[in-house]
């Protein structure tokens, strides 16, 4: 170590030695509270979503054809229907309305608890052979693929008078599916979109009949591999009059099980083909700026817009972007903190809904800049 290195090391050590945190226990409490609040918000949304799914399914069932009716009890026990941010069990949802995904109708057993339903669903339906059940919020039960993993799937359970606790869906933290939503009807062309983060960016799609773990359709698409990124694909389900279950999942790279996380969505049987001519869509296409804004916000940062229009002092911690190359249906933008060197390349692709950020890459540093990899 030369003189300047020694002086630097001594100065750093001396400064650090003179600083002690105030109250570490208090700090841990504050951190835990903020982390818990964040998770509670997610849980509350999921609990409400699960209740809405069941309610929507019930309405769909009641308005369905007589020959599709099943013997079910429909009653939502709302004696304590709170949806506030609370760790205590909230909405008690009784009855499955539509056919439960798990256990299968042919299964005569009665599952005694939400945790048991979630565990057997994870192991036997999702193929998470070493699944570990975590905390639950009401009837939303956390499942992890093994005891070491933090990757979480929330299994949505409802209580059925005859079968005990049954599973009606699941949501993985890192596989958010926007379309389809639960009980959307199957069609000859099914758009599947959302945001995901998975090993090597690949997420898999399966359509399964009720009462089976064998898919009748398999495909895959690409989302984010190092950060949450949008995915979008259109699949062609097999022609069937039966409802199916959509399973969007990340394969278990460790080889311990079949999946490490999964979002599971029940889909209704396809509606009869309309004889009406298609209505022209009036949906406005997403602009490149809007696509970049969505992408930046998904990484919990703020987007200021084009770098040339950024306002000094007011947008100092936000990201801005600049068009680097226009290739027609794809564009490359550079992005970085306002008034700093850009550090990220963004690849935008034009699709049916307009522009979407389909990939991102490091732009390197000032000393070692990296060209866009596309």
């Amino acid at each position: 170590m030369n003189d300047i290195e020694s002086r630097l090391a001594e100065a750093l050590a001396a400064r650090a030695a003179d600083v002690e945190p105030h109250d570490q226990d208090d700090a841990l409490n504050r951190i835990s509270e903020r982390v818990t609040m964040s998770h509670r918000r997610t849980f509350t949304i999921l609990a409400v979503a699960a209740a809405v799914v069941v309610a929507a399914g019930t309405v769909a069932f009641l308005s369905g054809d007589d020959d599709k009716k099943q013997a079910v009890n429909i009653a939502t026990d709302s004696s304590d229907p709170t949806t506030t941010a609370s760790t205590t069990p909230t909405t008690v949802v009784r009855s499955a309305g539509p056919t439960p995904i798990w256990p299968f109708a042919s299964d005569q057993r009665r599952i005694a608890s939400a945790a048991d339903a979630a565990r057997s669903f994870a192991i036997d339906y999702l193929g998470m052979t070493n699944a570990v059940v975590g905390d639950s919020n009401g009837l939303d039960v956390q499942v992890f693929p093994n005891e070491r993993a933090s990757l979480r799937t929330i299994v949505h359970v409802v209580e059925d008078d005859t079968k005990g606790f049954v599973v009606v869906g699941a949501s993985a933290d890192m596989i958010e599916v926007d379309t389809p939503v639960a009980h959307d009807p199957l069609s000859s062309s099914l758009a599947v979109s959302g945001r995901s983060l998975a090993f090597e960016a690949q997420i898999n799609l399966e359509l399964r009949p009720y009462g089976s773990t064998s898919p009748v359709f398999e495909d895959f698409t690409m989302g984010g591999g190092s950060e949450v990124l949008p995915f979008s694909t259109t699949i062609t389900p097999p022609s069937t009059d039966e409802p199916l279950v959509l399973v969007v999942f990340e394969g278990d790279a460790s080889g311990e099980g079949a999946m490490s996380q999964a979002t599971v969505i029940p889909l209704a049987a396809g509606s009869s083909e309309s004889t009406e001519p298609p209505t022209p869509t009036t949906t406005r296409e997403r602009t490149p700026e809007e696509a970049i804004d969505v992408h930046i916000r998904s990484s919990e940062s703020e987007y200021a817009g084009p770098c040339d229009e950024a306002i000094e002092n007011e947008e100092i911690d936000k990201y801005c972007s600049r068009l680097y190359e226009d290739r027609g249906t794809t564009r490359i933008y550079s992005a970085g903190i306002v008034f700093s060197e850009f550090d990220t390349w963004l690849l935008l692709t034009h699709g049916a809904d307009g522009w979407t950020v389909t990939d991102a890459a490091s732009a390197g540093t000032v000393d070692e800049p990296q060209p866009p990899p596309w």
């Binding site: 300047i4 290195e5 002086r7 630097l8 090391a9 001594e10 100065a11 750093l12 050590a13 001396a14 400064r15 650090a16 003179d18 600083v19 002690e20 945190p21 105030h22 570490q24 700090a27 841990l28 504050r30 951190i31 835990s32 903020r34 982390v35 964040s38 998770h39 975590g134 005891e147 070491r148 993993a149 933090s150 990757l151 979480r152 933290d173 890192m174 983060l197 950060e227 949450v228 919990e300 000094e312 002092n313 100092i316 911690d317 903190i337 700093s340 490091s362 390197g364 540093t365 000032v366 000393d367 070692e368």
Partner: protein
Amino acid sequence: MGPSTTLAAMHREHYRSLVKLASLLIDDRSTCEEIVQDAFVAVFRSPARLRDESRLPAYLRSAVLNGARSQLRKRQVRSRLRSVDSPVSEVASAEAGALAAEDQRAVLEALRSLPDRQRDVLVLRFYLDLSESEIATTLGIGAGTVKTHTRRGLEALAQQLENRR
């Protein structure tokens, strides 16, 4: 180990050292603690980051450096950057060590005026004693870049201290 257990364990093991790390870049201890708490919250509410516990220390260090950098940038932009000559209650001021303390303050002041990457690399190298590959992982840059920033940072530091004489 569940997320809450991990948080407690990581806090116990790293909170104090991260506050000290932040204090090398920011002169106000309360702000340092806020930066470190923000870093824990950011890391532990992101399931993606919790997927690999072995990388959590690097994520936390990176988040602290980013937080400190953001603070410094705000202060610079608002022209309210306080030098280490401003009151820093924790800095030793004992008369016997006055000379050494003066040199240390000068070194810290020069360090804080370096470009972001050079400053971060020097702190990780000469305070945390991280290897080049560990620094590269923490900052998300190549090992070669770490070497370059280290060399240039030390040269700039030496030049600044020379100019002060």
